[in-house]
């Protein structure tokens, strides 16, 4: 009986996915791409962040390059990375993404937050290569820029 129920549940899931199977695959690729974008942010933030913490020596050239990269990432047109139907409440995506449906239901709030991030990174790109104190002083505004979206539009991490 239990087994039968299990099979029935599987069939329901499969048929639900069947109709949108091709789309689901595309969406997963898109989600992978936007997560890669986040990794690129993190990689460049690591360069300036470790200097701010004093873990690596301050290098003006490296810092300026990383800050310029961060700005380039923010300026890149990433509209196609955020299609409708790619949030964690969409079918089959619960374990793939933490993007909340509010991204789409509260538009244009996300775009406004992204503009704030770009503005913060424009400033950061002008100060990061000056000296260590300027780099340190600029980190908070960059963090605020990232937080702008991550506070409202990303679900809490599930515990393993």
């Amino acid at each position: 009986m239990i087994k039968l129920k299990g099979i029935a549940a599987t069939l329901v899931t499969v048929s639900a996915l069947g109709s949108s199977g091709a789309f689901a695959q595309d969406v997963e690729k898109i989600i992978e791409a936007r997560q890669s974008l986040m990794h690129l942010y993190a990689f460049n933030l690591g360069t300036v962040g470790e200097m701010a913490k004093g873990n690596t020596e301050y290098d003006a050239q490296l810092a300026a390059t990383a800050a310029q990269n961060l700005l380039a990432l923010a300026q890149m047109n990433s509209d196609r990375l955020w299609p409708q139907g790619s949030s964690k409440v969409d079918p089959g995506l619960e374990d793939t993404t933490r993007a909340l449906p509010e991204i789409w239901t509260t538009m244009p709030k996300l775009s406004e937050k992204h503009t704030d991030l770009t503005t913060a990174l424009e400033t950061f790109a002008t100060v990061a290569g000056k000296d260590l104190a300027s780099l340190r002083g600029g980190m908070k505004a960059v963090g605020d820029g990232c937080k702008g979206c991550h506070q409202d539009f990303r679900a809490k991490k599930e515990d393993s």
């Binding site: 962040g49 701010a52 913490k53 990232c146 991550h150 809490k156 515990d159």
Partner: protein, 309 residues
């Protein structure tokens, strides 16, 4: 037989009277005790930020403008817990709906004893279970600062609590059993940085209110201090921030201080959820205070993350 019955009745009455007395709100902090500690506005702002007052008392859906402005403290945020829903009150200096008529001793009694000017117990959703470790000086400074904030007229909403939690008097017993104004961790001889971190985390910062597990009566489990716990608002769990490998074991002091300033984790992910509001506050502290908090968090006993399900 009759005597026996009388004795039992007497004992029961005695016990009831005892419980009634224990549950009585504690006497107020006297004005005399505060006479020697005039409030300092600048230091009060620092206490305000480490105390995280704005995080709970700002209006619901308030948008942080990412500047140094202080949000209105008019309350209204709702906190759903297993005991019912608490609504943060108005703590602006408005005389009719806020705390504008409070004396400093009434303010101190609220923070340190969890007792209102009307002599009623507060629910520990208001974290006096940590604030009771604050110095009178910090309380007086905080009062001076809050007095300068704009008054907003907004009548308080009632908490929506389930019986028997709706009976405030019962909180007296709860306080008697669970209130612990002493230091949580005994470091013996500690340097001034560690002492400062201890004061900030255990007292005004009230980190343990969310980051420590609670028992079925909602009291902090001090044996698993800062070991993380269920989210009182029911959404996932709150991280372990003790130096265990399931907590901040891999974080350096510099990592913690940076996180409390810019919000970046050692992996350069960024703070989210409720903690984002907390970092908004800790970012405004002196760098030396963030360093002190980090030193404390690396010095406390490592406890394994509590199982929440």
């Amino acid at each position: 037989m009759k005597l026996c019955f009388k004795l039992v009745a007497l004992a029961t009455a005695g016990a009831a009277a005892g419980l009634w007395m224990i549950s009585a709100p504690q006497p107020a902090i006297s004005a005399d005790a505060l006479a020697s500690v005039p409030g300092d506005l600048q230091r009060g702002a620092e206490v305000f930020h480490i105390g995280g007052c704005a995080s709970c008392h700002m209006p619901p859906d308030y948008e942080e403008p990412n500047t140094d402005t202080i949000p209105p403290l008019s309350g209204g945020k709702r906190f759903r817990t297993p005991f019912g829903t608490f609504v943060a009150p108005n703590i602006t200096p408005d005389k009719a709906t806020g705390i504008g008529t409070w004396s400093t001793s009434e303010f101190a009694t609220a923070l340190l004893k969890g007792v209102s000017p009307r002599g009623e117990h507060y629910y520990p959703a208001f974290p006096y279970t940590s604030y009771n470790r604050m110095t009178l000086q910090d309380v007086a400074d905080l009062k001076a600062f809050i007095d300068t904030q704009p008054a907003v007229s907004r009548p308080n909403d009632r908490h929506e609590l389930d019986f028997p939690f709706s009976l405030r008097r019962g909180l007296g017993l709860w306080k008697y059993l669970y209130s612990q104004p002493e230091r949580v961790i005994d470091f013996g001889d500690a340097d001034s940085e560690l002492r400062r971190g201890q004061y900030l985390v255990e007292g005004p910062g009230h980190c343990g209110e969310c980051h420590s597990p609670r028992n079925v009566f909602g009291a902090t489990d001090y044996s698993r201090w800062l070991g993380g716990g269920a989210n009182p608002q029911g959404d996932g769990s709150i991280p372990n921030i003790s130096p265990h490998r399931s907590g901040l074991g891999d974080w350096s002091e510099a990592d913690i201080a940076e996180y409390l300033s810019s919000g970046f984790t050692p992996d350069y992910d960024v703070v989210g959820s409720e903690m984002a509001d907390v970092v908004e506050n800790t970012a405004r502290l002196a760098a030396s205070d963030r360093k002190a908090i980090a030193a404390y968090l690396k010095a406390i006993p490592a406890v394994e993350a509590s199982k929440t399900d």
